[in-house]
C-alpha cells in the first residue's frame, strides 16, 4: 500500500486496512439487492439518488469502502445518478441509464434462486452417507505380478537386443565472442566519439567476428552506451557514444 492511500483511508472510515473477509454479502450486487428488498423498492424504477446514498453509507459502515468491487459499484451508481439529472432532450430517444443495472440485478437475482435450490439439494445429500466413506475413490489394487526369474531375464535380454545405440547429440561450442566484441567497442568509443561500421569491421573479418561485433553493438545500444544511426537505407551505419547513457 502506498503512503497516499494509507493517509487517505482514515478519512473514509474509522478503521482502515485491508478487507479480508466479506461475510455478510457475497458482492456489490448482493448488497444492492438487499437494499432494494429492505426498502421495498421497484427494481424497474429504482430511485437512484436514494439507493446510491444508502449504498455509500452502507459500505462505509461495513468497512467495505476499500474493496475495489464495492467502490466500482458506488462509482457506477453515482454516474447513473448524474445521467438521470441531465435534461432529457428527446423523450422518445431517451434511454434509461438504469437499464443495464436492472438487467444485471435481475440476472443476479435469478442466479441466487438457483443457489437456493443447490443449497437445499446439497444439504439433503450431506445428510446421507454412501456405503464407504471415502473422500476420493482409490484406484483398484494391482493384481500381484506372476513372473519367474527366467521370464524376467529373457525380457531384459529382449529389450537389450532390440535397443539401438542411443542417439548422442553433439554440443557445438558457441563460436561467437560477444563479450570480447563489447570490450573492443567500449575501447574504441573511449577514444573516438563517432565511428562508422565499415571502420569497425575489417574487410578481412571472419563471419563470426562480424556477428560478434553486431551482437555486441546491439547489446551496448540496449544498455544505452551508444547510439546506432543510418542516415538512409544501405548507407554506412554510424555509431556514436551516448553521452546521456554514459553520464547515467
Amino acid at each position: 500500500m502506498t503512503a497516499a492511500t494509507a493517509v487517505s483511508s482514515p478519512a473514509l472510515g474509522p478503521e482502515s486496512g485491508f478487507v479480508i473477509e466479506l461475510t455478510e454479502f457475497s458482492g456489490p450486487l448482493d448488497l444492492l439487492l438487499s437494499l432494494i428488498r429492505e426498502e421495498q423498492l421497484d427494481i424497474y424504477d429504482i430511485p437512484i439518488a436514494r439507493i446510491c446514498e444508502q449504498f455509500v453509507v452502507r459500505i462505509r459502515t461495513l468497512g467495505l469502502n476499500e474493496a475495489a468491487e464495492y467502490l466500482e459499484m458506488a462509482a457506477r451508481l453515482l454516474r447513473i445518478k448524474a445521467q438521470m439529472l441531465l435534461p432529457r432532450g428527446d423523450e422518445e430517444a431517451w434511454e434509461d441509464p438504469r437499464a443495464e443495472l436492472v438487467r444485471r440485478l435481475l440476472e443476479y437475482q435469478q442466479m441466487r434462486e438457483v443457489v437456493d435450490v443447490l443449497e437445499r439439494r446439497g444439504e439433503e445429500r450431506r445428510n446421507q452417507f454412501s456405503r464407504a466413506y471415502l473422500p476420493q475413490s482409490p484406484a483398484p489394487p494391482q493384481a500381484p505380478l506372476a513372473l519367474s526369474l527366467a521370464e524376467l531375464l529373457s525380457a531384459v535380454d529382449r529389450v537389450l537386443r532390440t535397443a539401438t545405440r542411443p542417439n548422442m547429440h553433439e554440443v557445438v561450442p558457441r563460436a561467437l565472442d560477444v563479450p570480447g566484441a563489447i570490450a573492443i567497442l567500449r575501447g574504441v568509443l573511449a577514444i573516438k566519439a563517432r565511428i562508422l561500421w565499415t571502420e569497425l569491421v575489417e574487410r578481412t573479418a571472419e563471419p563470426w567476428q562480424i556477428l560478434s561485433t553486431l551482437l555486441g553493438l546491439l547489446e551496448l545500444a540496449k544498455l544505452g552506451e551508444l547510439r546506432v544511426a543510418q542516415p538512409r537505407p544501405f548507407a554506412d551505419v554510424e555509431i556514436t557514444r551516448d553521452a546521456a547513457g554514459e553520464a547515467a
Partner: protein, 190 residues
C-alpha cells in the same frame, strides 16, 4: 427379491460411488433394460417397504445405496463418518452460474457475480466439482468451465435437467413491476 435384484444390491453395496445404469446392465448381459429397471424398482421397494436403514437413490445418471438422513446425527456422533464441509456462498453462486451457462469463461462469471472468482474457481476445480471443458474464441482464448459428475453427486441430481429451467425461475422482483407498458413500447423501437 429376484436374483437380478440381489445381484444389483451386491454390486451397489460394493461400490462407494454411484453405478451408472449401463454398468449395472453389464453385470447381467441377458437382462433387458425393462428387467433391469424392474429389478431396481424391486430393490428400492424392498428398502422402502420392509423398513431399512438405507435407501436406493438415483444419482448422477446412476444408482447408489445411501443411509437414511434420520441416522446421520447418530453416525456422526459415533464418529463413524463425517459430513463433507458445506460450500461457501461464493462457491455456490459460482457453481450456479457454471451449471446454467456452461461452457463459460471466468470473465463472464465475474460479470454476473460482480466480484473476482479466481480463487473460487481454483477450489471448485480442486474439489472436482468443475473442470476445464474447452477454450473460448475471445482474446487470449480463455479457459471455459463446466460441471462434472461429482457436481451431480454432491447435489444428488440425476442429471443437469433436474435443475429448474431458466424460464421457470420465479423472479421475486419481477412481481414488483407495475405494468408491462414500458417493455411493449420499447420493443418496436429496436
Amino acid at each position: 427379491m429376484t436374483p437380478l435384484a440381489k445381484l444389483l444390491e451386491a454390486a451397489l453395496f460394493a461400490s462407494a460411488r454411484p453405478i451408472a445404469t449401463d454398468e449395472l446392465a453389464a453385470l447381467e448381459p441377458e437382462a433387458s433394460p425393462a428387467e433391469l429397471q424392474s429389478a431396481l424398482d424391486d430393490l428400492r421397494e424392498h428398502y422402502d417397504v420392509d423398513g431399512h436403514g438405507v435407501e436406493l437413490v438415483e444419482i448422477a445418471g446412476g444408482w447408489q445405496i445411501l443411509t437414511r438422513a434420520e441416522y446421520t446425527e447418530a453416525i456422526e456422533r459415533a464418529q463413524l463418518a463425517a459430513r463433507p464441509a458445506r460450500l461457501s456462498g461464493a462457491a455456490l453462486e459460482t457453481l450456479a452460474i457454471i451449471a446454467y451457462r456452461q461452457p463459460i469463461g471466468r470473465a463472464e462469471i465475474e460479470e454476473i457475480r460482480g466480484v473476482g472468482v479466481g480463487s473460487v474457481l481454483k477450489s471448485l476445480h480442486e474439489r472436482g466439482l468443475i473442470d476445464v471443458v474447452g477454450r473460448g474464441e475471445g482474446l487470449g482464448r480463455p479457459l471455459l468451465y463446466g460441471t462434472t459428475p461429482v457436481f451431480l453427486e454432491y447435489f444428488a441430481l440425476r442429471h443437469l435437467d433436474e435443475l429448474p429451467r431458466a424460464d421457470e425461475l420465479a423472479i421475486a422482483l419481477r412481481a414488483a413491476r407495475p405494468e408491462p407498458e414500458a417493455a411493449a413500447a420499447a420493443t418496436p423501437n429496436e
